[in-house]
């Protein structure tokens, strides 16, 4: 009886997700799950570099087996550039989130293609004191103290059994982080000196 119940539950759950796949679709899904998308080759022969995560992992529309995240690529010889890194979900072995420095390899033929070195990333997270600490460090790099304070409060609320509800908190980056970001924009030539000075003054006026 248990087996029939399991099948019934499985069918009910599957119906909510578009129905039970037929054998052909199952084979296609297994194949897609383990499709490496060329990452093994990039890891083998690519150029070791540093990446800085500039956003958060999100699903790829229309692709159930991949995730995407913006990465600022820092090639050993050349200017940094940002790509939208699409990777097979099954490869993700450690946390990557905004602000983290991550080890990557760049395809020698196509600089838009990279692969994250997950073993090195796991070591990096261990060195930071674990996933939570590493995420916090990354968030602090990007958003300054405000995001960390909100995250700490949310974790405290969860521990206290208040359902994780956070008190009203501003999520806007603090002035220091915004000034640092402004410096980066100027250094990378994305804004000119006049724009830099005007925005800097505007930020300082907020103090």
């Amino acid at each position: 009886m248990g087996l029939f119940k399991d099948f019934k539950n499985m069918k009910a759950t599957a119906d909510e997700h578009g129905g039970m796949p037929n054998l052909k679709d199952v084979r296609r899904d297994i194949s897609a799950t383990f499709d490496d998308r060329g990452e093994r080759e990039i890891l083998k022969s690519g150029i070791a570099a540093k990446g800085i995560v500039r956003g958060f992992v999100s699903p790829v529309p229309g692709d159930r087996f991949a995730m995407q995240i913006p990465i600022e690529v820092h090639p050993p010889d050349g200017l940094p550039y940002t790509i939208d890194y699409v990777f097979p979900t099954v490869r993700m072995q450690a946390a990557i989130t905004a602000g983290m420095e991550i080890p990557i390899k760049i395809d020698r033929e196509n600089g838009q293609r990279i692969a994250v070195q997950w073993d090195a990333q796991k070591a990096s997270i261990a060195a930071a004191g674990g996933s939570y600490a590493a995420v916090q460090q990354g968030m602090a790099q990007t958003y300054g103290g405000a995001a960390n304070a909100a995250m700490e409060q949310a974790m405290k609320n969860l521990r206290d059994g208040t359902g994780g509800a956070t008190p009203p908190t501003t999520f806007s980056p603090d002035i220091q982080s915004r000034l640092q970001k402004l410096d980066q924009l100027k250094e990378s030539g994305l804004i000119d000196a006049a724009q830099y000075e005007a925005k800097k003054q505007q930020l300082l006026d907020e103090l």
Partner: protein, 117 residues
């Protein structure tokens, strides 16, 4: 130092070498606690990873010498960061075999700087 299953994280230091130099040193001369059957499989701007793919004798017989699986993959990564001064802080992390794990723990506990340095 902490362990979860056979996952290990251990800290070493190399006070006289910058991270890049310490990384080059460890790649050229792996630490004494790393058995010879581990091979370097990857390196990044601040790390090196070694791996040992091992098939137990019984599994070799059952799986036609590993043809049908049964291979255990042990991996260790050493990450090199600045210690804030002139030296390096080295974090060793991964899932080694039991013997190597014990050797890493012993080396880290005796504060063997850089493992072999």
């Amino acid at each position: 130092m902490g362990t979860l299953s056979n996952m290990i994280t251990a800290q070493f230091s190399s006070p006289s070498e910058q991270p890049a130099a310490a990384l080059a040193h460890w790649r050229a001369t792996p630490p004494a606690w790393l058995p010879g059957n581990y091979r370097e499989i990857d390196d990044s701007y601040n790390s090196v990873t070694w791996e040992w793919r091992h098939t137990q004798m019984i599994m070799k017989l059952v799986t036609l010498n590993g043809l049908l699986g049964g291979v255990t993959c042990y991996r260790i990564t050493a990450l090199f960061e600045s210690d804030g001064g002139f030296g390096s802080r080295i974090t060793v992390n991964g899932q080694p075999d039991d013997k190597t794990q014990a050797a890493i723990e012993a080396a880290a506990q005796s504060f063997q700087v850089g493992g072999t340095v």
